[in-house]
Structures are given as C-alpha cells and as structure tokens.
C-alpha cells in the first residue's frame, strides 16, 4: 500500500477515517478514551491503521502515556525521525 507523508492533517484525517467521524471532530486535544470512546486495545487497533498509512511504529512501552490524538501524533513524529 502507498504510504502517506505524516503531517498533523493527514494523521487527523486517518484517525477520523478509522473511527468513522468527521475530521472536524478531531483536534490535538481530543481525548482518545473520553471523547472518542476508544478502549485501551482500541488504541492498538488505531495504531495498526496508522502503521499501514504512514509506516511509523510507536513502541508498546510508549503507548501507555498516550491520552490525546495530539499525543499520538507527537509520538509518531518522534519515531518517524528515529526511523529516518
């Protein structure tokens, strides 16, 4: 599958696509558990979708500190730099 360039906008759109919500409903501060009603395993399911889209993996050890969509994006940004 063709991978996308990771930007906040493309990340936001992919998160929205995975959850079946409008992109406008997803902000950096949007809480994954409280506002998007994802459970802890759902974060990994979302992560899998993002790995496919951007080719960037976030280690399991860091996932527990992710609470918002912004946290998720920033973790992916960090690991994109590591992988690059």
């Amino acid at each position: 599958m063709m991978q996308q360039q990771l930007t906040w906008e493309t990340c936001r759109d992919r998160v929205a696509e995975f959850l079946g919500v409008e992109s406008a409903e997803v902000a950096r501060s949007t809480h994954l558990f409280n506002e998007l009603a994802i459970d802890s395993l759902g974060i990994f399911s979302l992560g899998m979708h993002l790995i496919e889209a951007f080719g960037v993996k976030v280690p399991l050890s860091e996932v527990s500190s992710i609470a918002t969509v912004g946290d998720l994006y920033e973790a992916m940004e960090r690991h994109r730099e590591v992988e690059a």
Binding site: A16, E17, L19, G20, V21, D39, L41, F44, G47, E52
Partner: protein, 513 residues
Amino acid sequence: MNTAPRTLDEHYDLARSKLRPDHTILMDEGSPISFQEFQVSVRRLVQALREAGVGAGRIVGYSVHNGLPAFTLPVAISRLGAACQPLYPMIPDEVRAAAFVQGRASFAIVARATVESFSAAAATQGAAYRILVLEDLLHAEDAPLPAAIASPEQPFLLTTSSGTTGKPKAVFLSQRNVASSLAAARDLSSYGPWSDDPDYRAMIAFPQSTSGVMILLGTAFLGVCQVFTRSLSPARFLEIAHAVDADAISAPPAWLEALLAVPVAPTNRAPSIRGVAVGMDFLSSSLLLRLSERFPALEGVANGYGLVETATVFMRWKGSGKASFEGSTSVLSLTPGVGNEIRVCDGEGQIVSFGEDGELRVKGPSVVGGYLGTSDGFEDGWFRTGDIVRSVDATTVELRGRSKYLVKRGGKSVSPLVVQDVVDRAPGVLRSAVVGVPHPLYGEMVWAFVVPVPGVSFSPGSVMKTARAELPVHMVPDRVEVVDSIPLGRGVGKVDREALIARGQAILQSLGV
C-alpha cells in the same frame, strides 16, 4: 391422545392414508414424480433389499446421486427395521469405503458406474460388507409393502456431527429423532394458509444433506411438492423455480447469496416465490431485505436452528411481512408440537434468570442418545449445544453465537453474530463476516470482513461509525477489511472462518504487529 408419528414408517403410513396416488410428491429437474411412483420405488427397494438379506439391526451404507432413489432408499431401509448410513457420492471412494467399515455397515449401495472403483477401494479396506448395485435393486419385483417393525428408540440414521468442539463425531439418530425432525420440517415450511394449498411447491437446495432429506420427506409426506435440481448451479436452480412456479425455497444463507448473484432474466425471475426457509448459518436482515427486493412476493421467512445432535431443527425464528425482515432474526422459539424442552445454564450448570446469557441445553424427542463411543456433551438426556444465548422465556432465546466462535478480546467475550448483525446494516455493506483473529496483546482481535455493494463508494469508516453508535466499545471491530467475497467452506456453504482468520494473520504478519 398424542398421535404424532414416532417413526419414519408412521410418517410414511400417514402419508399413504392421505395422499392421492396421482399427487405430485417430487419434481426432479422439473419432471413430476407421483406419489404412486414414489410408493412403487419404495416397494421395489424393500423387496430387493429383503432378498439381499437386509433386516432388523443391519446397517446399510449408500451413496447415490440426487434422484428418486436417494429419498425412497431411507424409507425402504426403515421398513425393514434396518439403519442407514448415507454418504455423498462425491466423497472419494477410499473415504466412503472406509467410512462404511467404521460404521459397521453390512451392505453398501452404489451406482453401477462407480461399482468397480468402489469395490477396489473396499477391498483395500478389508471391507466385509456386501456391495449392492443401485440399478439392480430398482428393477426388483413390485411386492406388497410389509408392516412396519421399527421401534421409536431404534437407531436409524448414522451420520457425523462437527460436534460442539469442532471435532467430527459419529451420531446415530433414532427413529424417534428422525420422526421429530420431519415434524419440525413441516413447521418450518408452513408460512400461513397459502402454504396449505394442495398445489404448494417448494424448491430445496441441498436435498441430500441430512437436514435436506428430513425437510424433503417431512414436507413431501404432508403433501408439499418438493422440487430439486441435479446440478449445483444457482442459475439452473432459479430457472427451475421459475418454470415450476415455485412458492418457496429452502436453502442455507450462502446459497441464497449465490442466487442473488445470478443476473435476473425473463426465464429465472421466479416471481411466485413467497416463502423462504433458511438454516445452517446466521441469517442477516440485510440478506432478507435483498431477497425481498429480488422476490417481490416474498412474505414469509423461517430460520431454522439446530444441530445434528438435535436431528437438525428444534427452534426457529419466523418473520411475516417486510417489516419483520428489518429486525433481528436471532430470537428463536421452540418448534411447537414436537415435545422438546430447553434450559439456559451458566458455567456451573445452574439455570440462569430470564434476560441473562448462558449455554443453551435441550432435551426431548429430537435429541440423540449420545455420540458413538462417548457421552461427552450429554447429561441426563440434556444436550449441551455449545451455543450462547440470552434466555427470554421458557421457550424462547436470543442466539448470541456458538461458544467456539465467540471472540475472546482482552478478557471479554464478543459475539460475532451480534457484531455482524450491526455491520451488515452499515451503509454500503453487501455482506460481512466477523471472526476473531489471534493476537498476543488482545487474545483475539475483532475483524469484520466486508463485501461492499458493487458500484457504490464505500468507506470502512461507515462501518465503524455504525458499529460505534450501536455496540459496546469492546465489540467495535478492531479492523474492517474489504474483500471481494466471503470464502465459503465445503458442504452446504457455511462461512469459512478458518480462511478468514488465516487471511487476518497474514495481514498482521505483513504489518509486523
């Protein structure tokens, strides 16, 4: 006094007392077979088998193609007080030869065209049974039918079940089991006053399956003309249904999907179809709505539920009118008039309250005495179905899923049926299948494999939106995978879950997660 037939012979004798000889009981590829012809076939077979030495306590294996003898053979074998072991003729010779040995058959009936290869296979198995040629039996002299001798508790039909564990097990259905199944088949094919019409005709998709024979004989003895095809072509099936003005169809859901995939033509519209009897697999409202578009006269649907261990159907859902097709088809009621009873039990075997979930258990005339060689799964005559249901009342349950198919996600059980029911209703979904794909972190992930409606723009997000709106968080699919088709297993075409799970595992591996 309860006069319900307790043996196949009693069902047959009842039919003989009620049906006219010129009544069309079956149609083979559209060619009518009268009840007179049916009776002559039974009598000739009884005569030939008796001369060959078939009698009480003997087991007769047979494998014959679709056609009148496939349905008169069990009736004839029953009349002699013997038991039968039917096997599909498409099963390889060596496998059939060995199965008849394992079944302790004294006789094996095969068609002349295959007798040479089958005999060679039987010889390599050291088979002691006598091989009889079907065509020879059919030309025996027509002699009066002897009186029935089989008792209700006598073993009659040897078959195999996938069992609640998925491991094949041999099962003997008694005469009473079979008689109950015929009665349940009648209930399933009864949609209302119109289906009592003497000219009512029903098409049956898999007449030679164990449930197919029961449905065919159960309804044919009631006076319903059962129509079958020799080929396994959905297009041919529809052409015959059209040509004979079929009123109803009996088929598994996967076969109905195959019918819907056949392009509509003036010669296959089958506009007279008003009833559909389904069984063997989950029935979605999406399929029902598409069927009602394809067959505008469709008004009655019956979804049969049962297992080999319960002589097939013992519970059913019935819908009448299009409004009922939009609801859940998983609320099942005990088939009336057969005499079975049900319980919903927790893990300790205690009966749960109405509204709670547990395992469905059943006891009664439909339930077999046990597997050959083991009593696992049976307690005091109660059979543990392995299916998880919600108890509604004493005779009604809501099916949640087979316990072996339940997805164990993060310590919680997810019913794939419940998820699939929701996924099927999402915009742009033609059909779907939901399975658990093993993953070390989850235990199992909930994967929805979706076939989109052709020509319509589809986004997996539409499924997630619907699922998130209607399901608890832990039941929302972890992944929506778009596929061209849902793979089907062999036999009557149930969803091939193993193939889907393997596909999911391959994707996980490619992603390195």
